[in-house]
């Protein structure tokens, strides 16, 4: 009979964030030993007290016995009794709006796989997203960047290791900017893993705004597809009544006009504020500031050998020309952040682990 795990595999908690922005829902995965001998989390000496004050009443499941204080003169993290030492730490940065929801399984799988491989992982719902404070309409790019800085600090204090980011789609853009905004001293620079990064924010915003039009298209097509908050398809009179409840078929151009005029727009049940739309619109990998971190750009395509799309190729080359230390890998798998049925991309999990394993 297999033994029960010594501690729960993941710790959920709320992390107090910047003044006036409430707290962020987080899940922490401690690095695990494969033999299930128990979970060991190493903390740099002197940081234990700070960590404890940050986490008072937040992570009651972690008892002092599970921490191993590291001698400040030692550069090793804990490696006692065969437990896996902490190899590194990563903050996972989720995708935007509905893409976040559709990629939850992949994020959970990646976090567990990373923890099994000896990495400490922090998942955080950004302001206005998931179970964190704030409504989506209140979210702002700058608040999200501050959230990531906070996440990095928390994980750095807990592990004493260089903290990197793993960002999906728009989360990748956030990760890049957070790394630039919050640079770390040499030796404490973590990797940036970018899953299917978004080359241009204006293109991305247009795609997001078009969801409204697509929803309208589907509501007028033969089969009624359930939209968030909508009633199921009816017949006859009920269908006529439903017509008035259908979303307007405003195109992206019309919605952009409203945003420019200072109006929030609702798309797919998400209230988008003009300020956030403007931040997204301005994103461009070709002109982004380059962080010192090693960058791993991972794309998921029809096949490993599918030619890279021109726009993506241009972005990668821009980053390289600007001095980024970049490695590119393309794996085969479904567009899991967009697929209706929860999809998995095992090749992406494997490639990520492999790249981290070979990291300098």
């Amino acid at each position: 009979m297999p033994a029960a795990p010594a501690c729960s595999p993941a710790w959920p908690f709320f992390l107090p964030a910047a003044e006036g922005t409430g707290a962020r829902f987080c899940i922490y995965h401690a690095p695990r030993s494969g033999a299930g001998a128990g979970q060991v989390v190493s903390i740099a000496a002197g940081a234990a007290e700070i960590a404890a004050s940050l986490n008072a009443d937040i992570v009651p499941a972690i008892t002092p016995a599970t921490f191993v204080a590291v001698d400040s003169s030692s550069s090793d993290s804990a490696s006692i009794h065969g437990e896996v030492p902490c190899r590194g730490a990563l903050v996972m940065v989720h995708a935007f709006a509905e893409e976040m929801n559709r990629s939850r399984r992949m994020f959970a799988m990646q976090a567990r796989a990373l923890a099994d491989a000896g990495f400490a992982v922090l998942l955080m719902d950004l302001y206005g997203c998931g179970d964190s404070s704030g409504d989506f309409g209140q979210a702002r790019w700058d608040i999200w960047l501050a959230d990531l800085v906070l996440a990095r600090q928390w994980l750095a204090l807990r592990t004493g290791m260089p903290v990197g980011f793993l960002g999906l789609r728009l989360g990748a853009s956030l990760a890049l900017q957070a790394a630039v905004q919050d640079p770390q001293p040499a030796g404490m620079v973590g990797p940036l893993i970018l899953w299917q990064p978004v080359p241009r924010g204006d293109t991305y915003l247009t795609q997001f705004l078009r969801l409204q039009q697509a929803a309208y298209l589907l509501s007028t097509a033969g089969t009624e597809v359930a939209l968030p908050g909508s009633a199921p398809a009816g017949e006859g009179e009920q269908a006529t009544t439903l017509a008035s409840a259908r979303p307007d078929g405003e195109g992206s151009a019309a919605l952009r006009k409203r945003l420019l005029a200072g109006q929030c727009v609702e798309v797919s049940g998400y209230l988008l504020a003009p300020a956030l739309a403007a931040s997204i619109d301005a994103l461009n990998m070709a002109t982004v500031a380059i962080p010192h971190n090693p960058i791993y750009w991972l794309d998921i395509a029809v096949d490993e050998s599918t030619p890279i799309a021109a726009a993506r190729q241009r972005s990668i080359e821009s980053l390289e020309r600007a001095g980024a230390r970049l490695r590119f890998r393309q794996v085969r798998g479904p567009a899991f952040w967009a697929s209706q049925e929860i999809a998995e991309a095992p090749a992406l999990l494997a490639a990520t682990l492999e790249l981290l394993g070979n990291a300098p």
Partner: protein, 85 residues
């Protein structure tokens, strides 16, 4: 007349974008898309449009995202060929 290679490329794009699995290979030129494929929800439509823009290096206008364009695999292929001609 729709180019066979465009059809095949479109099938693989749809298959990957919508996670169709084996059903990707069952798609024919007259296979209905919008309203018939359960995977083609609003996210699916937009993702397919984005994939078409990337893969074929074209720019899709708002007006071109229509029931006519997305009626069948054949209509989508005709649209792509017209944009890349």
């Amino acid at each position: 007349m729709t180019d066979l290679s465009t059809l095949e490329l479109l099938k693989s794009i749809l298959g990957q974008a919508l996670n169709l699995g084996e059903r990707q290979h069952a798609l024919q030129v007259d296979s209905e898309l919008l309203g018939a494929l359960p995977e083609l929800d609003s996210m699916g439509v937009i993702h397919v449009v984005a994939a078409l823009e990337e893969q074929f290096d074209i720019s899709v206008d708002d007006e071109e995202i229509s029931a006519e364009t997305f009626a069948t695999l054949g209509s989508l292929a005709s649209y792509v060929e017209a944009k890349t001609a």
